[in-house]
Amino acid sequence: MNISNGNLRLAYESIRTTKFRSTLTMLGIIIGVVAVILVVCIGEGVKRQIGQQVVRYGDNVVVVRPLSEHRGILGGDSVPVGAAAPLTLKDIETVRRLPAVAAAVPLSSVSGSIKGDRQVNTPLVIATTPEFATFIKPQLKYGGFFEASQDANQVVLGSKIVSDLYNDSMPLGQTLSYRGQEFLVAGVFKNFNAPPLSIESNFNNAVFIPYDTVRNLTGVEPSIYEVLVRAKPGTNMPAFARSVQATLVQSHGGAEDVAVSAAGKTGSGTDQTLRLLTLLTMAAAVIAFVVGGVGIMNMMFVTVTERIHEIGIRKAIGATNRQILKQFIAEAFVISCLGAVYGVVAAFAGIGLLRLYTSLQPIVVWPIVIIAPLVAIASGVLFGSIPAIKAARKDPIQALRHE
């Protein structure tokens, strides 16, 4: 019996005439859909940003980090700045002697305030060697990277710290003082795609300073938190990483105190973050859908109770149980569909706003944009049919007497 077209129209009428109540129900579905889409898209965005951070150095680069007793909250191997680290310049020399190594540079974070036009008290100052410039993809916006040791008193700035230090947006040739010494600003980087979750390598806020200069200034060797090692073209990277690891372990007298990870692959810390993120997303999705479904069920129960008399009339003039059931399920279906569509629209608006006003860069994940509303509709119909079954089973004469 083909009565679905009429049912849908009646369902739509019914929803239109009880707009307020229907909107409340729809809200459940809308929130569910928005929550799921946003969480997944934000998660994907964060993943992408973390990924970008890792591949920033290129596929043929491995990262050597000291292994520390101290573990981050996520169990990752992030090292607190300034902690006693087993990596030294000697290690870099050792690594450089490997035949497959093209270049190796230390990254070291040093403390001390900086004064340009204005003072910055706790800047991120990274001491490194001139070769660093060959590791990073973003080019310099102005000037150049410090090159050989004769440029001992030069620094290069990240794009964001410029405005903290100087009135001028192009501070090339200006000076800043650090630890009582004058430095010349030799270059400014273009913007790095900075992931919001990574504090350690937010290069946009960093001041790059020659490693040797810092060593001369402080009299000690600044502790190295990361060594970047680039292989010669055509090297097998996993094998390369293993040989770097083995070489360092050997030179440390057998102590397994460094970790070598291929830059093209996410490190274990980020892996765990992503797993948690995926779990969080799934939990949020399930909760959102259950909330939406219960919202629909509630409204359907109210609807059924309010409309017992109507059900009685419909049955008196010949509606079968199945037809009553169809009508109420059609209503749940129409409400869910409208809610799902509004939800998708709202989610897109949310993604746009987040991109505009926050450092999150959500990415539209099309499968979820399609699956989320479908699941929402399914759960809406599922939860909606429970009261619908109740409505359909009503005895006609009792329903008619009900006011």
Binding site: M1, N2, I3, N5, G6, L10, E13, S14, T17, E310, G312, I313, R314, K315, A316, I317, G318, A319, T320, N321, R322, Q323, P396, I397, L400
Partner: protein
């Protein structure tokens, strides 16, 4: 084969001492083409009888045969389909769906029958025209007068061309003029060959009937065949009397129910003896 046949049909509500007998072993046959008026004091079981005949309610005991089919054997969806195709119900309180326009209300039984939107529209329009409401097609029930609303309800009852029209106090909420309009419509339906059952408290309206049944305490007290245009013989006097109860009985503790049982056998024929004893106080106005 009679169109409607009830054999010892009872309807009881409640349990034990609180048992309420709405229908008391009613045996009754209605042939095709009759126009039956049902009268009786409030609470005597008229609506219950209509609901049982209209397949809205189940009898507690006894058998009801509609077109020779035993109703107890029908499943709920078969009953629904019979209500849709064979029976048109008209209620005192109209029972239109307030959110639908007049034409959508009329078309509803067609929708449940599975007719196409175009056919629904055409048939429903023709029906509204038949009850004289073609200029109110897209009005909502709250925009119609009581009489017009009942006419829409009649159009809805007629839309599937049912054999039986059951009207439970169709004029109960209407003034004299609208009552006449509604009854004229029912008379017309009767004339075109349908069987009509209607409940009324207005003796004058028995003029439209070929048969008048007088009920009391769940039983049919009088069953009178009569020509059209004449008021039923007992319509003015019988029905609004107080329930029979003699002082002797009260003292003896004989309940009205037991008495009713005693008198059950002669109830088939009009029991004139009992009517003479009855007081004739009118409880509800004849013209309403």
């Amino acid at each position: 084969m009679a169109l409607i046949e009830l054999k010892d049909v009872s309807k009881l509500y409640g349990f034990g001492d609180a048992t309420n007998v709405a229908l008391d072993e009613v045996t009754l046959t209605i042939e095709k083409g009759e126009c039956v008026a049902v009268m009786g004091p409030s609470g005597c079981g008229k609506s219950t009888l209509m609901n049982v005949i209209g397949l809205l309610d189940h009898p507690s005991h006894g058998d009801y045969y509609l077109n020779g089919r035993r109703s107890a054997r029908l499943g709920s969806s078969q009953r629904a389909k019979l209500r849709r195709d064979k029976i048109g119900f008209i209620f005192q309180s109209f029972n239109l769906l307030g959110r639908l326009t007049a034409i959508d209300n009329v078309a509803l039984p067609l929708l449940y029958k599975g007719k196409s939107p175009l056919a629904r529209h055409k048939i429903a329009r023709a029906m509204l025209e038949r009850v004289g409401l073609h200029d109110r097609t897209y009005y909502y029930p709250h925009q119609l007068s009581g009489g017009q609303t009942q006419c829409v309800a009649i159009a809805r009852a007629l839309v599937n061309d049912p054999e039986i029209i059951i009207a439970d106090e169709p004029t109960g909420n209407l003034d004299t003029e609208s009552s006449r309009l509604v009854m004229e419509l029912l008379a017309e339906i009767h004339k075109s060959g349908n069987t009509v059952l209607f409940v009324t408290h207005n003796p004058e309206l028995t003029r439209y009937a070929t048969r008048v049944m007088y009920m009391q305490d769940g039983m049919i007290k009088h069953d009178e065949q009569k020509p059209l245009g004449v008021v039923g013989r007992y319509a003015h006097t019988v029905i609004y009397g107080e329930p029979e109860s003699h002082e002797d009985d009260d003292i003896a503790g004989v309940s009205a129910l037991m008495k009713a049982r005693e008198r059950n056998e002669p109830a088939e024929k009009p029991a004139r003896k009992t009517t003479k004893r009855r007081k004739t106080t009118k409880k509800r106005g004849g013209t309403k």
